[in-house]
Amino acid sequence: MQPFLIQLLNGVQLSMLVFLLAVGLTLIFGLMNILNLAHGAFFTMGAYFGLVVANKTGSFWLALLIGPLLPFAAGFVLQFFVLQPLAQRGRSTHLDLALLTFGLLFATAGAVEYIYGSAFHSIVTPDLLKGRVALLGIEYPIYRLFITAVGIAIAIALVLVIDRTLVGATLRAGVDNREMVTALGININVLFALVFGFGSALAGFAGVVSAPVMSIYSSMGIGIVVTTFVVVVVGGLGNLKGSFYASLIVGMTDTFAQAYLPEAELFAIYILLIAVMIFRPQGLFGAVGRVA
């Protein structure tokens, strides 16, 4: 029983990391209908910028705070100056945007490798979160509990913002009826660019959060794109709560497959993806018409 509980804990922790990555993507998809494959690039950018800050200041917390600013700016610029004008010229089918952002993903990996080389880097765990706590008869790393807590906190904050605040209401309105919101005097282009930036910043945040556990390297963002897309599809496109539950499903599937059925791990989440596509193409939690 005890190993099972530990694996459960591992699963929750992985799920929260996946959630941090996927939630930005689902926000962008739900609000703007943009298939953003460059999400992995923002993950990489955040991690590297965090690394630069951590190396300069020696502080993990500053890295966590400042690291996501670069992907935020990059995301804002991408949406406002590239994707938005494209959409206005009618060049914004899913294929157009997928190709554009796909190129961006690899270009970023290439640029990072050009600047920083192909070496592996890491951010040191902050002293406060070093060490382990006795839990269920074993020592569990505090930092992993921290990841879990951060994931849950962000999920709650997002739900509150979108459901209970004026900004959230404007966003929801913008998705449902864009013209009406514009008519009310709200600059929807800036709002969307801000959301795009925010979604990208979340990816960058995930990059810094995961750095003490995993390693930072140029192509780190490429591998995560598929997993995050599985989460977005399973959770229902643009469904925030859905992506939270879907992250839990994907994280748990991955962890338990690795622990008890390693042969199945590689394709377990893809089977899940295919099953969802066949039986509930709107996603497990996707109520039709409800976005964000």
């Binding site: 694996q7 192909s118 070496a119 592996f120 382990r132 390693s215 192509s219 591998g223 690795q258």
Partner: protein, 403 residues
């Protein structure tokens, strides 16, 4: 569509002209030109760091010969196989058809090597593998056109399994990436370990290039009750698994023993103190006190301002074996290219790792495997302290047509 069709037509046309032109060149003029070596390595992705080291070691070897063989300059043409078999095949075909190389060197991933070995055989193109440790490459897939200058997984890991079993380790749990090389290395360890009285309680496989979180696998390993974890990982994966092993406080509970790829120098900056006091098996480390090694380390330091890691040493051996073979053949690629590999098979030379000899399957044998511990040296920098050494094991049988 029309554009790309025209593009293809144009390429085809250009290719035809190139073919006609090369056919028209008399043979003696060709012999005077450069010897072209296609060097295929995974320059990007998880094995980018070892690939770069191999490339550097390879260059050091060529420079030792002045980048010439019998007066003919050596030209290296590089290609990135992206650690993906289909890409490797594509690049190999490019080497053969448009670059018209004399031989191909390099290749790290066994998955790529297996895909290429058949092509090399069919095209009668000498393929000198640098890594590609999976046993079947010089076993089931062997060919008179294929050689490997490093060692086979079994040669390295069988001996390692035997060593740890002899050191009083009774039980182990293995961890490795689920692909051909991971299977080959861990399989070799398991045979050597169990043939000598040890018992592998559990084998844990993680998806190659996909796994980032090893917590589930490590929890299973810690609960298995084994004395050690024996693992094969490299590059980014090695860093993650070693770090996470330490995060869970398992360093004192169940040591994570591996080889020089798990505790590669290139990973030390990212691993920090976690590499300290780790024991591992190695085929090369910079402070081996032989003249050949010290000369190599010095040349490498002069050019790249750092000590060579094991991949650099393997790249060096790859280049050196090729250059020595060309030297014996008078700087010519023989008409029958199998003769190139046959000549290489008869070579014996001193490398930084020890004496290199080939077996009948065209695979280099390991003279020595070292057991080392990572320690802080007097200058405060990390270095390796030799603990022990033992000879490498032979290859698995299975080759029917190496000559």
């Amino acid at each position: 569509m029309t554009i790309s069709f025209k593009g293809y037509a144009l390429i085809g046309f250009a290719g035809a002209i190139g073919l006609a032109a090369s056919a028209a060149v008399p043979t003696h003029a060709q012999e005077k030109g450069a010897i072209k070596i296609g060097l295929m390595l995974p320059y990007k992705g998880v094995y980018a760091v070892p690939a770069e080291s191999i490339d550097r070691g390879f260059q050091i070897a060529l420079e030792e010969f002045g980048n010439k063989s019998n007066g003919r300059p050596i030209e290296i043409i590089r290609a990135d196989d992206e650690l993906t078999p289909s890409v490797g095949v594509q690049k190999f075909n490019k080497f053969v058809q448009s670059d018209k190389v004399d031989l191909v060197a390099g290749v790290v991933g066994s998955n790529v090597a297996i895909a290429i070995s058949e092509l090399a055989d069919k095209n009668k193109m000498p393929m000198v593998f640098v890594n590609a440790f999976a046993d079947e490459i010089t076993g089931k897939f062997c060919s008179p056109y294929i050689a490997r200058t490093s060692f086979s997984a079994n040669g390295f890991e069988y001996a390692s399994g035997k060593y740890w079993a002899g050191k009083g380790v009774k039980t182990a749990v293995t961890m490795g990436p689920d692909y051909s090389a991971g299977r080959a290395f861990i399989g070799g360890f398991k045979r050597g370990f169990e043939d000598n009285g040890g018992k592998v309680i559990e084998e844990i496989w993680t998806p190659f290039q996909k796994t980032k979180d090893y917590s589930a696998a490590l929890t299973q390993a810690a609960n298995s009750g084994a004395q050690i974890i024996y693992a094969f990982y490299a590059g980014a994966e090695a860093i993650q698994v070693v770090k996470q092993h330490a995060d869970f406080g398992l360093r004192t509970k169940i040591p994570f023993i591996g080889d020089h790829w798990v505790y590669d120098e290139a990973l030390w900056p990212a691993l920090g103190d976690l590499a300290l006091n780790a024991q591992h098996v190695a085929t090369h480390y910079p402070s081996i006190e032989t003249e050949v090694n010290q000369k190599f380390v010095k040349a490498y330091n002069a050019k790249y301002k750092q000590d060579p890691d094991v991949s650099a040493a393997l790249g060096y051996d790859n280049g050196k074996a090729i250059m020595l073979t060309l030297e014996k053949l008078g700087g010519q690629m023989p008409e029958d290219r199998a003769k190139f590999i046959a000549t290489m098979r008869d070579l014996t030379f001193d490398s930084p790792r020890g004496k290199i000899k080939f077996n009948a399957q065209n695979s280099a044998l390991l003279e020595k495997v070292y057991v080392v511990e990572v320690v802080k040296g007097p200058d405060g920098k990390m270095q390796r302290k030799p603990l022990d050494q033992f000879p490498g094991a032979g290859d698995l049988p299975g080759c029917t047509k190496s000559f």
